[in-house]
């Protein structure tokens, strides 16, 4: 029997939801991907799964308590968040920390940059199926966490920043230990960088994937390694020269390729820069007084005023706007704009014309941090009943 009728199946784009659980990293975001066969035609970024309301929470608490709240915006970049907020307060109060405190602040932020960049590079190795490399990098990342523990007293959430200073000083023994860790780490990082440059699998999966042109990067407000890999020289460390960045020599890393591979390479080079900066800080640590201020002598009244500070977080330019009305102990408005907020929400165009398998690679190369991005509204509304939980109850961990 011959063919009597030919039925044409129309080509329809398929909707593939990637997320909200584990799109590439273990964090909740949904990429609604429309695919024609394997090719991605359109992507919608769906947010709102993890909104904690930190801006509102900041308005309800005092200026000093907020230092601890903003540290909890993101675990991995808690020092930069606290630093940016604390510097905004210092601008309003017109106080400056001494040089030793400034150097120590920079050291803690650079250690954080090293371990954050190592984490995302390790995750990228895992995403492309190179799990051994993931394990290796994570093992060496532990050393940096150790160095951060020696400096700040904690591996992750440090709460290191204080108005007009830092919370802990270091002595000679700690200084030598951190230096030793950094020197050991350097050769390892150079090796991993070489692996990313030369390994066939990594190069095949990363090169030419998710290319962003210079003009696209600026018009979409991309910041951080994502912009720098496309040749846009944005680095608030170099332009704002906050804290001790005016005294410590470093280079701003840029590349021109603009693809996922270039973004990872920018991160490796930045780690090497950060190690150099760390060693410079430890060798040239000024001793112009105690970097730890007396908490009881800090000003209690905040004059009316506003400040807008920028900091170069690991993922790019992080900004804080703090406004005080001078009437209460609480800030009138705190606005946090994290780098991931710009980088993720505006990134939908990057996936188009790549295959479905490239979606996680591109997402990882942006280094998304969902907890950073979603943090604005504090609400506990259950069945129409408004419930407010005071900070005391929260801090007691549910105990009465």
């Amino acid at each position: 029997m011959g063919i009597t009728k030919v039925v044409e199946i129309p080509v329809v784009t398929t909707e593939v939801p990637i997320g909200p659980q584990h799109p590439a990293l273990h964090e909740p975001i949904m990429l609604k991907v429309y695919a024609d066969g394997e090719e991605v035609v359109k992507v919608e970024v769906n947010t709102g799964y993890n909104h904690r309301g930190i801006e509102k929470l900041c308005e309800k608490n005092t200026f000093y308590r907020d230092i601890f709240i903003v540290s909890r915006v993101c675990g991995i970049c808690n020092a930069v968040h606290a630093n940016c907020y604390v510097r905004a307060l210092e601008q309003i109060l017109d106080v400056t920390p001494n040089r030793r405190a400034k150097f120590l602040r920079v050291l803690s932020m650079e250690l954080e940059r090293i371990h954050s960049h190592m984490l995302i590079n390790a995750v990228m190795a895992e995403i492309v199926g190179f799990e051994t490399l993931f394990m290796q990098i994570m093992l060496d990342r532990e050393r940096v966490m150790k160095a951060k523990e020696i400096l700040t007293g904690n591996r992750v959430s440090a709460d290191y920043m204080m108005v007009s200073g830092v919370r802990r000083d270091i002595d000679e023994v700690k200084r030598d230990k951190i230096k030793e860790i950094l020197l050991k780490l350097k050769s390892k990082i150079e090796y991993y960088k070489k692996v990313f440059e030369e390994d066939e699998t990594l190069v095949k999966r990363l090169v030419d994937v998710g290319r962003v042109k210079y003009e696209d990067a600026t018009s979409h407000s991309f910041v951080g390694p994502l912009a720098r890999a496309s040749g846009v020289r944005i680095d608030s460390r170099a332009s704002d020269k906050y804290d001790a960045y005016d005294e410590i020599p470093f280079n701003v890393i840029t590349r021109t390729e603009g693809d996922s591979w270039a973004r990872m390479m920018v991160r490796w080079d930045e780690i090497l820069e950060s190690i150099e900066m760390g060693i410079y800080i430890l060798n040239n640590l000024p001793s112009d007084g105690n970097p730890v201020p007396d908490e009881r002598r800090l000003p209690r009244r905040f004059p009316p005023g506003e400040a807008y500070t920028r900091v170069e977080a690991q993922r790019g330019e992080l900004t804080y706007y703090v406004m005080s009305d001078g009437k209460t102990q609480n800030p009138y408005r705190v606005k946090i704009r994290t780098p991931s907020f710009n980088n993720i929400v505006n990134s939908a165009f990057m996936y188009v014309k790549h295959t479905l398998a490239d979606v996680p690679v591109i997402l990882t190369s942006i280094d998304p941090c969902i907890s950073c991005m979603e943090r604005v509204t504090l609400i506990d509304l259950e069945k129409g009943v408004r419930q407010r939980i005071p900070l005391k109850q929260l801090s007691s961990g549910g105990r009465k």
Partner: protein, 149 residues
């Protein structure tokens, strides 16, 4: 073009000038001029000459206004300037920038969802961008001072 020349572009529109700590030039403008300012920035500097960093909305309940700040970073000097405008609290509407600057998407969607500022011409505005649906369904904008949240 140096920074002074770039700032001259903004000064033509400014009603008032001041400085926001630490050392950010601030220009207060009419809300109807905001879009025109960005158009002229694109015309003079190109898309690669600046980027829109943040949109900050603040509810000024006592003055019955909503204040909107656009933070723009001039490249390559990385000079941050602030374009500030005031909208009436009852009916805060302003022209959207999304068709000329795609990077405005994140800031505009967030400001609409949390503060209720309508960006005329932005098709992506929706409640529930960040705010949970049980709140957004009641028509509450959480960052307004009288929202009760």
């Amino acid at each position: 073009m140096d920074v002074a020349e770039k700032l001259k572009l903004l000064e033509d529109f400014a009603l008032e000038k001041s400085v926001l700590k630490p050392n950010r030039k601030l220009f207060v403008v009419e809300p109807s001029y905001v879009r025109r300012i960005f158009e002229s920035l694109i015309e003079k500097l190109g898309h690669g000459g600046f980027y829109l960093s943040t949109i900050v909305g603040t509810d000024l309940k006592e003055e019955n206004k909503i204040r909107l700040d656009y933070y723009v970073v001039m490249l390559p000097e990385e000079e941050t300037v602030v374009i500030r405008t005031f909208l009436p609290r009852e009916n805060p509407v302003i022209d959207s920038l999304i068709d000329i600057i795609p990077g405005a998407l994140a800031g505009e969607c967030e400001t609409y969802d949390l503060l209720g500022v309508v960006f005329r011409g932005n098709p992506f505005l929706k409640r529930g961008f960040f705010v949970p649906t049980d709140v957004s369904e009641k028509g509450i904008y959480p960052l307004r001072k009288d929202s009760g949240v």
